[in-house]
């Protein structure tokens, strides 16, 4: 019997296919469900109303991340908007027997950062979170899907999702990244190529030499932004680097179970000859550090470039152009490098891992944040925070004038009270530059951690490649 060549995505999907539901949707088993305090309380309430139990509390995990304050001395009341959510989450997880990473837990962090960091989500697993950036965890070779509140309730009650099988896209990233060009720059560039809806209906596999050369943390960053291109899930094939990265993590399998898992993971990469509904190749050799100029992540350019004129844009991308520039306080043809900056944020599920803090610290070492700039750096997890403090990175950053925070989503969505003021220009390592996301009227430019740190030091949007002595 010859077996049909299959993709990484197909192998994992097929292994989790339970059956077709009477309405034709696939029932897909979710191995790991992680919920956060903004959506979980409503789910607990609905389950209670309908007299339903959580089917697999042992496969469910909960974390307080979206509304927790980032002050180092925070408590559950520091951000009063979050307090009722935090308390309802605590009560609900106790009632249902779900492991909660509470505000003061040494393993607390942004859900997408801790899911792989703790070895809870593994290669070859399926994973759902009621948050659109769930695709992050695809970086270790899992199918990781963002869901809505109603879908979250469905997963709590059934441990499955009823979902239509997406089409498959492969994006091969070729060439070699230049110094100071990071996974964040690659992912922004990809969205620039795809547009905000180019990935809609697709599961994306990132492949090719650039991906193979990336650290696991970079692969997580790469997969984080897929939803900004419209794709609900994205993933990278697990390789030897992935397996070494997972080994020894707290919830990862051990002993015989580990050996069996590794054997399974080694068979997951897409077979030669696997067919994709769309197959793209993007050469990354000439890529510069990227910066967004508009109000969606596809409105992005190299830091050496000028803000495009409307006629430079493809027909389909011209809608909202003037409104975006007006909001951002920019003119067509203007260069962004050199624009004064009010606020810098480094962190989030996109760029809140240790590697990101290290990149910022390398730029900040021996320098100081420019006068008038508020620069906040918030680790993506309490574990990252601890590591960065032990390694002296936090000291370097605070010596340089950065504010060092306690782990959470912080200024990414501003749900914890960290927001900018109207018209402030904010250089941010997050994933959304939507109008008002970081505070009413705040002008967000999405960049890599190195570019953000360089901009904080310069007080202007800066090209990290111009900074002397930055390795």
């Amino acid at each position: 019997m010859t077996s049909h060549p299959r993709s990484l995505f197909s192998k994992i999907w097929d292994a989790h296919f339970v059956c077709a539901r009477p309405d034709g949707r696939d029932i897909i088993y979710m191995d790991r469900h992680m919920i956060h305090e903004v959506h979980a309380p409503r789910g607990f309430e609905t389950l209670a109303r309908d007299g339903r139990a959580v089917r697999r509390p042992d496969l469910s995990f909960a974390v307080q991340d979206h509304t927790v304050a980032s002050r180092l001395d925070r408590t559950e009341t520091t951000n009063p908007e979050g307090t009722p959510f935090i308390r309802a989450m605590r009560a609900g997880t106790v009632e249902h027997g779900i492991r909660l990473f509470d505000i003061d837990d040494p393993d607390q962090g942004i859900v997408h950062v801790i899911a792989p960091e703790l070895g809870i989500v593994l290669p070859g697993a399926t994973h759902a979170v009621p948050d659109s950036h769930a695709s992050t965890v695809g970086g270790i070779g899992a199918i990781s899907i963002g869901c809505g509140t109603t879908e979250m309730e469905h997963i709590l009650a059934t441990q499955t999702m009823a979902i239509s099988r997406p089409k498959e896209m492969r994006i091969r990233l070729t060439g070699e990244l230049a110094p100071h060009v990071t996974a964040k720059d690659v992912s922004l560039h990809i969205i620039g190529v795809l547009g905000v809806a180019g990935g809609r209906g697709f599961a994306i596999e990132y492949a090719g030499p650039v991906v193979e050369a990336m650290s696991i943390e970079s692969r997580l960053t790469l997969c984080n932004l897929s939803i900004e291109g419209g794709a609900r899930t994205s993933l990278v094939a697990p390789d030897a680097r992935t397996i070494e990265w997972i080994r020894g993590r707290p919830w990862a399998p051990t002993g015989d179970a580990w050996d069996r898992a590794v054997a399974y993971w080694q068979g997951l990469p897409s077979d030669a000859g696997a067919v994709f509904d769309a197959d793209l190749e993007i050469d990354c050799s000439a890529l510069q550090p990227q910066v967004t100029w508009g109000t969606d992540p596809s409105q992005v350019m190299g830091i050496d470039d000028a803000v495009p004129r409307v006629e430079d844009l493809p027909e389909a991308r011209r809608g909202g152009y003037e409104k975006a520039l007006d909001y951002m306080g920019l003119r067509p043809g203007e260069r962004l490098a050199g624009k004064p900056v009010d606020r810098v944020f480094i962190g989030s599920c996109t760029n809140g891992r240790l590697q990101d803090i290290q990149a910022a610290a390398r730029v900040a070492q021996g320098r100081h944040v420019a006068p008038g700039v508020t620069a906040l750096i918030v680790p993506g997890s309490t574990r990252v925070r601890r590591q960065a403090e032990e390694m002296g990175l936090a000291q370097i950053l605070t010596d340089a004038g950065f504010i060092w925070g306690a782990s959470g989503c912080s200024m990414c969505g501003g749900g914890n009270g960290d927001r900018g003021k109207p018209q402030e220009r904010c250089v941010s390592t997050t994933n959304r530059n939507f109008e008002g996301r970081q505070g009413s009227g705040v002008r967000t430019h999405l960049v890599s951690p190195a570019t953000a740190a360089a901009s904080a030091i310069a007080g202007r949007i800066a090209d990290v490649r111009d900074m002397q002595g930055t390795a």
């Binding site: 292994a15 989790h16 339970v18 059956c19 539901r21 009477p22 309405d23 034709g24 029932i27 088993y29 191995d31 309430e45 309908d50 339903r52 042992d58 496969l59 809870i120 593994l122 070859g124 697993a125 109603t150 309730e153 469905h154 009650a157 059934t158 441990q159 499955t160 009823a162 707290p250 919830w251 990862a252 399998p253 051990t254 179970a257 580990w258 069996r260 898992a261 399974y264």
Partner: protein
């Protein structure tokens, strides 16, 4: 979820178009943890500022006080996706809404809560609405979902169409979770098979706690 098979009840006419969920379930009354959904239904129209009933509103008239079928115009349930727009209906006792059309989300929310959202064939709509007005709450209408027939006073039976999946869910009382749990045997089989073949997917623990 309550099954919907055959239902007989008084039909109340609310023959307006574009009734939105802010009217059906006003949001400022939705922020309590356990709101009184029956009282929330059409609250702004049903109750006067001093809290007394508005005698002009159809559901406040004695003959419609126990109505369980609501007859409405086009684009019923538009606006916010809030599910309270249907919870208020079920709390009041409405089991079936017959409208000229529904907003997509509202129709889904009806199906999640055992309420039959019914759209009659084009040519049957105006005569049916006239029959509801003529019946004036004095005699019940009856909906047989299995046979897909609506019957009542002052005219012939009306055959209606419904998506087979909607019908499947309502007849069995399955919301979306219930629909999935109708495959519970398969889910259990998957869990057993995976426990055997790929145990790390079904079982995990914090190794720090066990050493």
């Amino acid at each position: 979820m309550q099954k919907f098979t055959i239902h007989s009840g008084i039909a109340a006419p609310l023959l307006l178009d574009n009734v939105n969920t802010d009217q059906i379930a006003p949001s400022q009354h939705g922020r309590e943890l356990k709101p009184d959904y029956a009282r929330m239904l059409f609250r702004r129209q049903r109750f006067l500022d001093d809290g007394r009933e508005n005698p002009d509103f159809v559901l406040n008239q004695d003959r419609f006080r126990h109505a369980s079928i609501l007859v409405a115009g086009a684009n019923f349930g538009c606006g916010s996706s809030r599910e309270a727009g249907v919870w208020t209906m079920t709390a009041f006792g409405i089991r079936c809404i017959i409208a000229r059309s529904f907003s997509d989300i509202y129709r889904e929310n009806c199906l999640q809560n055992g309420v039959l959202p019914l759209v009659l064939p084009e040519e049957a709509i105006a005569p049916f609405e006239a029959r509801v007005l003529q019946a004036d709450g004095q005699a019940p209408f009856s909906v047989d979902l299995e046979k897909q027939v609506l019957s009542g006073p002052h005219g012939p039976d009306i055959a209606f169409q419904i998506d087979p999946v909607f019908k499947f869910k309502l007849l069995r009382g399955l919301d979306d979770i219930g629909l999935t749990l109708s495959c519970d045997v398969q889910i259990r089989e998957w869990e057993e098979r995976t426990t055997r073949d790929l145990p790390f997917l079904q079982h995990l623990h914090d190794a720090r706690l066990t050493g």
